[in-house]
Structures are given as structure tokens and as C-alpha cells.
Symmetry: C2
Subunit: 453 residues, 2 copies
């Protein structure tokens, strides 16, 4: 047989600790700010929304944080995920590069999101919370949290962006199958929803406001977020930790590590453990964060304090931002349409430890179809962007005549996103322009805050 | 940690041979008949439709048939599939039974179908065929063959039942992503299609006729079938062979083996290797084939020679049948709506080696939702029927106070069938009655043929 294709590990190899990259950063990280006072946020400011265990993780500087046994137990349903060598793709691309991908699509909801949904549900249940409220756009996060809540006996209330609720009934069916209560947002269940009733198609910003209102208004209900925050990125590091062990099985180590970036958590998941290894061992690994050309936060945004949500209810976070009310064009990779990025990831980009690149969606889908024909997996719209970057690296290796090792995170499958492929196959998928003018408008509305320079 | 959940094997453990259960049957199997002459079919009668290697497998009495290296190479993309112990489900059901499932949903198309699509494409390519034509209903088979053809450089032409083409655009997008040319059936590309133009919603029978016409009318095009035939059941036995090795890892052996039955191939895949073991070693294993109450071929059909297709173009096959033009009600498990069953499976049911049971779809989906909440996997509509039977066995074990071991085949995921769950969750899923009168009508049209008694 040819080169080994799959590198599997049994469940005893599920990591016992999460990797907290905050401990590896030079200096103290910039704190989030209370938007009312402009002062650094105190942990107790977050207590109405999150359980204490997660707030502690959010500000922790411990290099490693133990994964509770109950969480590892739940992870066993799908973890460790496979590491694959894309031997058929290498042939199709006629490249000397060795291409590896960590496949997170084997999880219940088909993406990396349950890696954090499960511990979030666990810690909330442990602290006596009865219900989690959240928002969801395309549905990846809502379905992951629905399943995690089911596992730990929590109720789950999901505010789903109206246009997705109408056009993605199958994601809703998935959430309901796992026991969640799904509302079309804007709803008439909250003040925020009622005040935005004229925005009939909804937005992630409105849905966040609704979920936060529900959580803040009830003693035994908390809020859960699927990306951006430190504790979310932390939980995702099981991806990279497993990958390191599996690369050892393969006897190789990557020259470049690639992932797509929306809020930043799947990229953090694959990159942070390998970044720590690079820093500790002086390795020469390159890290490449890939974003959509239509929403190029890291490559065109400014580094500043901004709100995490559209309507301006969250703490101010130091990050690359296009402005909190920047409206990105409706690219198919809904999970990448975010005006900012995880502060911890932004700090690493700022330090020059992580490179960033923007890719137009037609190029991304073209690469994804080649990938699907070679490897059999139809990627979710988000990682198609990472795949195009992988192709570029593979071509560069070919031009250089070098056997470079590429690792990327295939963070989810596209079974519930086939409309995007339908559009691409029928020639109807278009590149959507990034609007400098829209960014200028949105950046003019940045909140007053200390400089981050 | 609790009991191990996943039993994984690396790709070196992909079986090297398929299990040909025909060699284990008492006596010679009844031959298929030429419908024109009533005489046993000669291998060359099939040559316009199938390559010689598959025709030889169709009639082979060799106990084992070697899996070509190129096929094992392709299987590596997703095989060996995991064997799972449903520990969380056992708890949810509060049963002393140990429940194991072989999960075929990890394949590119999300079901067991690529197990035979890949060797079929391989043998055709090896004999110089340029294109495969086939039909598909819900799309599981068409998408599997599309991917397999892509792997071996064949063109693939799929006639998709009109109503599915209209309502399942995502399955079509999947086939097109993998390079297939998909036509709505009835089409105006074939005589058969044009003659049935008034049946605008189409039927599997018409789609078969169109694909067969395309194959028969071209020197370098052949036809491919996704179930029923001996060589198809043969290819699926990798499922059971792997399961035996994985059960050994678990240190257990099943008391009962369960699978759903449409044409019979996924059931054959899990059951035949364990059935051989039972026959050889005198084990006490029970085998249970589960069909939908709305199309109860094995439990209510007659054992007779009948056509394999609706319109009466195929050879006559000895099988349990409801009559070849029996119209089953539109249950969501489209893959189980078949008037007959694989002759080899029927012979084993006739011999009393395999039991059969019929399950209504509401009971099946109710069980599937419990399964999905416990194990995280949302099953395809077809295996929901097997899952209900598993629940019944688990309850029987509880009543008996016995630690029975149950093995079933979870032959696919339901990501592209969530409309069925949507119907169930909203209370709109109904049980559809089996019509004795419709069966009587269809049985009156059985072709003239020798008795099989």
C-alpha cells in the first residue's frame, strides 16, 4: 500500500489538559474594558452571564488547565478526531508537499464547535445553572450547544438569525432533535427582539442581544458564546494537542500550519499547541490564518478596542476590527462573517507570530471541489478558505522543489451547506467585494477607549 | 473512565477478502431466470450491463474473494469504520444489555454504499469501460457511485427520480460536486423516459429503465446497481468482517445481530460474516432483519420468482416479493421502499437462519431521537428501523435480567434527511398503512415462472 492515510488514536489519548497560550505571550495581555467606565473588566462583571469556572479560565495565566473527567468522557463520543494524510490530493496537485489535515467533521454536529460546547455545558451544570441561552447564525454553534446541553441535562434556548431560520430548516431540525428550543430572531420574547421587529431578517447582533437579555434576566440561566473568548479558544486546543501526537505517529512535523478564521477559535485550536512548541523548542513553523476577502479583519482591519457584538452591549476588547457595526457581504461562509477576531489571536498576529491572508470565495470553493473529489470529504464553506491557502503552499513547494509538510484544520463538513456548492457548480457563486467605504463608516463609530498601540 | 466507547482499527486491518455466503448455503442457490425463455440466466446474458469480473462474482461459489489492492487503497479513505459501544444509550435505556453499533456514516457519502460503489467502479475501469449509468432515489447510491467513478476516472450518469430531484437538491449538489452528470427522470434522453413523460414525478422503476437503456445502447457504458445482487452483498461484507475483529478487541460477541433491510445489502454486510462464523463454530447468534411496516417484504410477501424492477426488464429472481409493481407508501426511509429483497438474503430467511420483523416509522423515529440525544449521531431514516428493534431487544434483556450483547449496523447518517426529523419533531410524521389489497393486486401480476417451493 501507499503512504498511510489515517492516523487514529484511541480514546485514552484524549488530552488531559488544555493549552493556555496566554501564558506564552510576551507581557500581560491587554484587558477587556467595561464599556461604561473604560476600566479593566473585573471578573465579577461577567458573573451574570458566565459560571465562575469559565470566568477563571477567561483570565487565567496558568500554562495548562486540566480537562475534567466528565468532559473527557463526553469527548469520547468523537475524539480523538483523525489526522489524515491527503495522499490522493497530493497526487491530484502533483506536489512534493506532504499535506495533513485534522478532521473535526466527525463530531455530532459536524464541526469543532462541540469541543467548547461540552465543557461550557459541563461547568454551567456543575454550578447549578438550569438553562443556557445562545445565538446562532448558520446553526453550527446552536446545534453543538444543543447537543452539549442535552448531555448535561440543561435546557437550551437558541435565538437563530431570522434569515437562517427561514433558509436552514435542517439545522433547526438538528437542534430540535437534540432537544433545544429554537426561536426565530428577532422574536417577541425579549425587549431587544421587540425593539428590532422591523429588521425582519434578523442579524447575529440582534440574536446575541436577545440571548444575553434572557440570560441576564434569570437567576438560573446563563449565556454561552461559540468563539472569540479566551476560554473558547482554550477548549479548542485539544485539536492541536492531538495533532502533535498524531504527527509523531506519522514521523513528520509541519513547516506551515493553516486554518480559517472567523472568530478565531478553530484556528486557535490547531495552532496554539504547535505555537507553544515552536516558542519552547525554537522551531521554524509558520502559522497562517486565512480569512475571506469579503471580511478581511486581520489583513485590513485596525487594531483597537471595540465591542464584540454589533449593537455594542459587550465589554470592549482589544482586537483587529472592521468596526463593530461593519456589515460584511453575505458570503456562504457565514462563520467567517465577523467584524473582529479573538483578542488572543489578534495579539499573536500583532506580535508577528501568526501571518494572515485573505481569500475570495470563488477561489476557495474551486479548491474545495478538487479536495472533495480527491479526499471524499465535502468541506464546510469556512475551511474551503484554508484549503485554497493549502493549495497555494503546495504550489509554492512544487516551484521550490521542496518536500514541505503542511498541516491544516478541516474544521467541519459541508453536508448542511450544499446550497453553496450548488451555487458554485451552477456558476452562480460570485466574489463579493469588500467595501473600504463601509469599513471607513464603521471605523468612525469605534468606541472611545485607550489606545492599544 | 467508564467502558470504552470506540473500537478503532488502522487501515492495515481492512479485510483482504470478501465473504461469499453463497458457499455456506445448503445446496445450490436457485438461479435467476431469463424472462424471455424461463431458462436459467447465462453469465453472457449480463455482459451488456456488467463487466465480467462482477458477473463472475455474481455466480461464484468460492467461499472468499480477494479484494483488489486498488480497492483496499480506496477503502482507506474511510475504512475500517469504527465499532462503537453505545454506553450512553445503555444508560438512557437503563438496560443490562451491551449495545454495539458499526458506524458506516463516516464514508464520503455518509452510508455503506461506497463499499460496493468503489469495487464496481474499479472493475469497470479495469475492463476499459468509460462510463457508468445508474438510477438513484433519495440519492445515497447515486452520490456514492459518483464519488467512486471520480476515483477511477469514469464518467457517471445518474437518473434521479423526479420527485427527489425536485425535493433533494442537496443530494444532487453532492453528486455534481463529485463530477456526476445528473438527469431528472423521466428525461427526454431515453426512449424509456420519453415513453413515461406523463409520469412527471418519476419512479425508481423508470429511472432504472433509463439507466439500463443508456448502458445497453453504448459499447463503453455499463450499468451499476446499489443493492439486491450477490456481488453487491458480497462487497458489503467488509462491514461484518471488521466488526468481528473489533468485537474481539472489546472481548464480547453478539447474541443478536440487527440491520434494516431495503434491498438487503447493508444487512448482508454486517450479518453474513457473523452468520458464517455461527454455522462453522455452532454459535447461538440470532439474526434479525428489520423492514418498514409499510413495505413488509420479508414478513408479508410471497417467496416466488419476480422481476427485480418495476417495469419488468430484469431477469427473474427468487425472492420474497410484494409484486414487482407494488407501490409502497411514501415512508421517509426511501431506501427501504423496495418490493423484493436480495435473493441470497431471502434464501437465508427461507431456511430459517435469519428472522424478520416489521416496524412502523413513527416508532422508528421515536427511537432514533433517543439514540441521537444519547450518542450524538442522527441516523438516516433507514437504520432508525433497526434502532427500534435494538430498543426492543434491550428491553427484553432488561425484563430477563440478562447482560445480552446486541450488535447493529448504523448504515448511515441523516444529515441530508433532516426533513424527516423535522416532520417527526413537529408531530407531522404519520404511520403509513401497508395495503393488503395493493399487494394482492401486485401479486396477481407475478410473471409465469417455475415454483420455488
Amino acid at each position: 500500500m501507499a503512504e498511510q492515510h489515517k492516523f487514529l488514536m484511541d480514546e485514552s489519548k484524549i488530552p488531559e489538559q488544555w493549552t493556555n497560550i496566554a501564558a506564552d505571550l510576551p507581557g500581560e495581555p491587554l484587558p477587556p474594558l467595561n464599556p461604561g467606565t473604560g476600566q479593566p473588566l473585573a471578573p465579577e462583571d461577567l458573573a451574570p452571564l458566565f459560571p465562575m469556572a469559565l470566568i477563571e479560565q477567561e483570565v487565567s495565566m496558568d500554562p495548562n488547565i486540566e480537562i475534567p473527567e466528565e468532559v473527557r468522557e463526553a469527548y469520547r463520543l468523537w475524539r480523538p478526531t483523525p489526522l489524515m494524510r491527503a495522499t490522493r490530493l497530493e497526487k491530484a496537485l502533483d506536489t512534493p508537499a506532504h499535506i495533513y489535515y485534522k478532521y473535526e467533521g466527525v463530531s455530532p454536529s459536524g464541526s469543532h464547535k462541540p469541543n467548547t460546547a461540552v465543557p461550557q455545558a459541563f461547568y454551567n451544570a456543575k454550578e447549578g445553572v438550569k438553562k443556557l441561552a445562545t445565538e446562532t447564525g448558520a446553526g453550527q454553534w446552536g446545534s453543538s450547544l444543543a447537543f452539549a446541553c442535552e448531555m448535561f441535562g440543561l435546557d437550551c434556548e437558541v435565538f437563530m438569525v431570522g434569515v437562517s431560520y427561514d433558509h436552514k430548516p435542517y439545522r433547526r431540525a438538528m437542534m430540535e432533535t437534540w432537544g433545544a428550543n429554537v426561536h426565530r430572531s428577532p422574536s417577541d420574547l425579549t425587549e431587544a427582539g421587540r425593539s428590532q421587529a422591523e429588521h425582519t431578517t434578523g442579524s447575529l447582533g440582534i440574536a446575541i442581544s436577545e440571548a444575553v437579555e434572557v440570560a441576564a434576566g434569570s437567576e438560573d440561566t446563563k449565556y454561552a458564546l461559540g468563539s472569540v473568548l479566551n476560554h473558547v479558544c482554550l477548549h479548542q486546543t485539544v485539536i492541536g494537542d492531538e495533532a502533535i501526537a498524531q504527527l509523531e505517529m506519522a514521523g513528520e512535523y509541519p513547516d506551515v500550519v493553516i486554518g480559517c478564521v472567523g472568530g478565531g477559535s478553530n484556528f486557535a485550536g490547531i495552532a496554539f499547541p504547535l505555537l507553544r512548541k515552536k516558542l519552547k523548542e525554537g522551531l521554524d513553523t509558520r502559522f497562517l490564518a486565512v480569512e475571506p476577502a469579503a471580511c478581511p479583519t486581520l489583513t485590513k482591519g485596525v487594531y483597537a478596542y471595540d465591542f464584540g457584538d454589533t449593537v455594542g452591549m459587550t465589554p470592549l476588547m482589544p482586537m483587529y476590527t472592521l468596526g463593530h457595526d461593519f456589515v460584511p457581504p453575505p458570503v456562504h461562509a457565514g462563520g467567517l462573517r465577523y467584524h473582529g477576531d479573538a483578542p488572543i489571536l489578534c495579539a499573536l498576529v500583532k506580535e508577528g507570530l501568526i501571518d494572515a491572508e485573505a481569500i475570495p470565495q470563488t477561489e476557495a470553493f474551486e479548491a474545495a471541489v478538487t479536495f472533495a473529489r480527491a479526499e471524499g470529504i465535502i468541506p464546510a464553506p469556512e475551511p474551503t478558505h484554508a484549503i485554497r491557502a493549502v493549495f497555494n503552499e503546495a504550489e509554492a513547494a512544487k516551484q521550490a522543489g521542496e518536500e514541505r509538510v503542511i498541516l491544516f484544520n478541516l474544521c467541519g463538513h459541508g453536508h448542511l451547506d450544499l446550497a453553496a456548492y450548488q451555487a458554485f457548480m451552477s456558476g452562480e457563486l460570485e466574489d463579493l467585494e469588500f467595501s473600504e467605504a463601509e469599513m471607513e463608516r464603521a471605523l468612525a463609530a469605534l468606541p472611545e477607549a485607550p489606545s492599544v498601540a
